[in-house]
Symmetry: C2
Subunit: 422 residues, 2 copies
């Protein structure tokens, strides 16, 4: 009897939880009585095209604590890609090669862990498979710190990034409160098109600290004059005002504040200012007060040591359920989280048809933002609060988190054997 | 019999460990059979001048887990100041008022937790005290993430910041390794005059990751052309090159790279580029490769959730020993750590005469930097490694670190009753 194997890949930007979904897939395959080997495709779909394939079943058997360590390791054990498949209606040669590779490895199911673009790949591959009469299951497993995927209540990776943002705002608040001189601190948070991660900054508030005192979202037009007024009003109430701002805020005409025209510094280099830096200068120009801007940068998506256990466990469960769904015959779908209740917090795992999920994004509903547009509502707070609960069981060695080695990623020595860039 | 009280204050920039020293002082006074009450002066020496005084003994008695929570809380429970006492030879009225306040509160010992400037205050106050024949003990307790104080092997606060830097570099490395396209990531680290914190980035290296691949220190002149060559050489060896750079690097003429002349962005604002941003543009100009710069910013000094337990415990012990030293009659001194051995790591707590410590800084010795000037030596690695070991016992509530409330700091309502700015 021929082998029944599965293959899994990761794509898009890193999160602290995407390896937990990978661990969930490996764990479920290992426990499955149907599937034999789980392969990992390196650098997303490119690994299948380039024949860069890891035998994850063997790694799970050989490397001590593999599943546990992988579950709590940041970024992407299999590497990523930013590769979008062309429409097979135009040219199906890439698709034909992928299914050729599936056959070579006796693949019965393909799991793609990623965001919007990855779900586009899931959608195209499953439609192509349908067309050629393939019985290979093609299932998407969501992840993105942006929380902007349709169909699912929230996305794995979001809760951990949200926890990082909230704890950073809290620690920055402690840092700023020590001086009695008035100050404004701008914290720039990721999320170009949706303000979910910026909204999570509100979770930092507690009995003694109201930071962030103002929050600005990409969902609403940003008005510079109103912003100055907002800050002035807060400075009457607080010595140290902390502002959370999405990198994606735009003016009423849709222009990003981060997309500064290249200007020149003293070395003659093009200079792009970030959103936070831009707001810093708005304040400096208008209010005589100490101002600082902080860009949380990539740590908000890779600081696994302060990930949310709720997030990690959900990501792990989604990976495992994806395997079970494939065994039940599901395909052309994405695994989703359906929230049953906020308190007690309860979610169910289901599947949703992939059609319509890919290439669309979910913004924060207007009614979840305050009337003034510079804060969230209690409803959004209640939605957010359960997602950051719980601390990961990170092992430290010599004072540093002991993550799973990724030396198979850097550098990838072997040359591509097949690549059709689109 | 009159009361025998002590007063403690904090000054300078925040660290994750400065509250541990405060907790150590409070704990030792509480256990002492000589001292009655420990007072806290808000915003450094200014609290004594302005009569902003907290009764810390009462707080320790009233607030559950006060000592433990304080020990692991970031920034400064008593607030800070940047206030330098004038020379009392010129005008001793401020000094006279401070000793008047000491008398009012029956103060027998004053502990000042801080860096260079705070040790200047300790030095001046103890010399003035000596002159007027006071028996009040004046003792400095060191802290600074910069690790640049003389006399002590290292400074409390440094180990925690070093741990944050090293784990951030490790997590950033995981983040960058996922893409197969070549990239350079510049990480800007605090430390204007000494490269100790930048050097700690080397602790991120492990069996699978050589990041940071290059390190640049303020101790050595930075040469742009050499930097480009260094990066090019590393890009031949690694897909993703990570560079750690001190904010304080200077060219051979002593010009900071961060001190850009004000230029204008599209909004017409003055624009200062950071060191990391500056190096980012050096690369962009010279090498066709993806480049990103990351500024670790204030989180490296306030992210208490990933502080070093070694650091916290040493800071706590220094606070306690300062009280014991005062009881033994020591004054006009700073508490110091004397390293007995690296492996096993062992330090002793001693005192050092304050004279000559204040207003001087300790750079990394040249022989602890590599010949090429872009790395550390094994000797420096061995010095650094023990300082980041151990994880703090942080309590989390609703997914966030539960730190000690600091609402007494923000805003300070009462008006100054005495202030002579110098």
């Amino acid at each position: 009897m021929s082998q029944k194997n599965v293959i899994v890949a990761q794509s898009g930007g890193p999160t602290a939880a995407i390896n937990a979904s990978l661990a969930g897939v490996i764990d479920a395959v290992t426990k499955s009585e149907v599937y034999d080997t789980v392969y990992g495709s390196l650098n997303g779909i490119l690994g299948i095209l380039d024949d860069h394939i890891l035998n994850l079943s063997r790694q799970a058997a050989d490397i001590p604590d593999f599943i546990h360590t992988l579950k709590f390791s940041p970024a992407m054990y299999l590497g990523s890609c930013r590769y979008k498949l062309a429409d097979y209606e135009d040219d199906d040669s890439t698709f034909a090669f992928i299914f050729h590779q599936f056959k070579k490895y006796n693949i019965k199911a393909f799991f793609y862990i990623g965001g919007n673009d990855s779900m586009d790949t899931v959608s195209k591959l499953s439609r192509y498979g349908e067309q050629i009469g393939s019985d290979i299951r093609i299932i998407g497993i969501p992840k993105t710190i942006d929380n902007d995927l349709l169909a699912t209540d929230h996305t794995p990776g979001y809760g951990s990034a949200a926890k990082y943002v909230a704890s950073s705002i809290l620690e920055i608040a402690h840092d700023t409160y020590i001086y009695s001189v008035k100050s404004v601190t701008i914290v720039e948070i990721m999320g170009r098109d949706a303000g979910w991660l910026t909204a999570a900054s509100a979770l930092a508030r507690n009995s003694y600290s109201g930071a962030p005192h103002l929050i600005y979202f990409p969902e609403l037009p940003f008005d510079k004059e109103q912003f100055i007024e907002d800050v002035k009003a807060q400075l009457k109430l607080h010595n140290n005002v902390i502002v959370a701002v999405s990198e994606g805020i735009r003016d009423k005409d849709g222009n990003y504040f981060s997309a500064a025209k290249p200007t020149s510094d003293q070395f003659g280099h093009a200079q792009l200012s970030g959103t936070g830096k831009c707001l810093e200068y708005f304040i400096k120009e208008a209010i005589p007060v100490k101002v600082r801007s902080i860009e949380l940068n990539v740590l908000q998506r890779c600081a696994a040591h302060i990930s949310s256990l709720t997030d990690i466990e959900e990501a792990f469960a989604l990976g495992g359920e994806a395997v079970n769904s494939a065994l039940r015959g599901d395909t052309k779908c994405m695994m989703i989280l359906n929230r049953v209740s906020n308190a007690p917090y309860k979610v169910e795992i289901q599947t949703a048809d992939i059609t319509g999920i890919a290439n669309a994004a979910k913004a924060i509903p207007r009614q979840w933002l305050s009337q003034s547009g510079n804060d969230i509502t209690p409803e959004l707070y209640d939605y957010l609060a359960p997602l950051i609960v719980g601390e990961p069981d990170i092992t430290y060695k010599n004072g540093l988190p002991a993550y799973l080695p990724v030396d198979h990623l850097n550098p990838l020595i072997s040359a591509p054997i097949y690549r059709k860039d689109c």
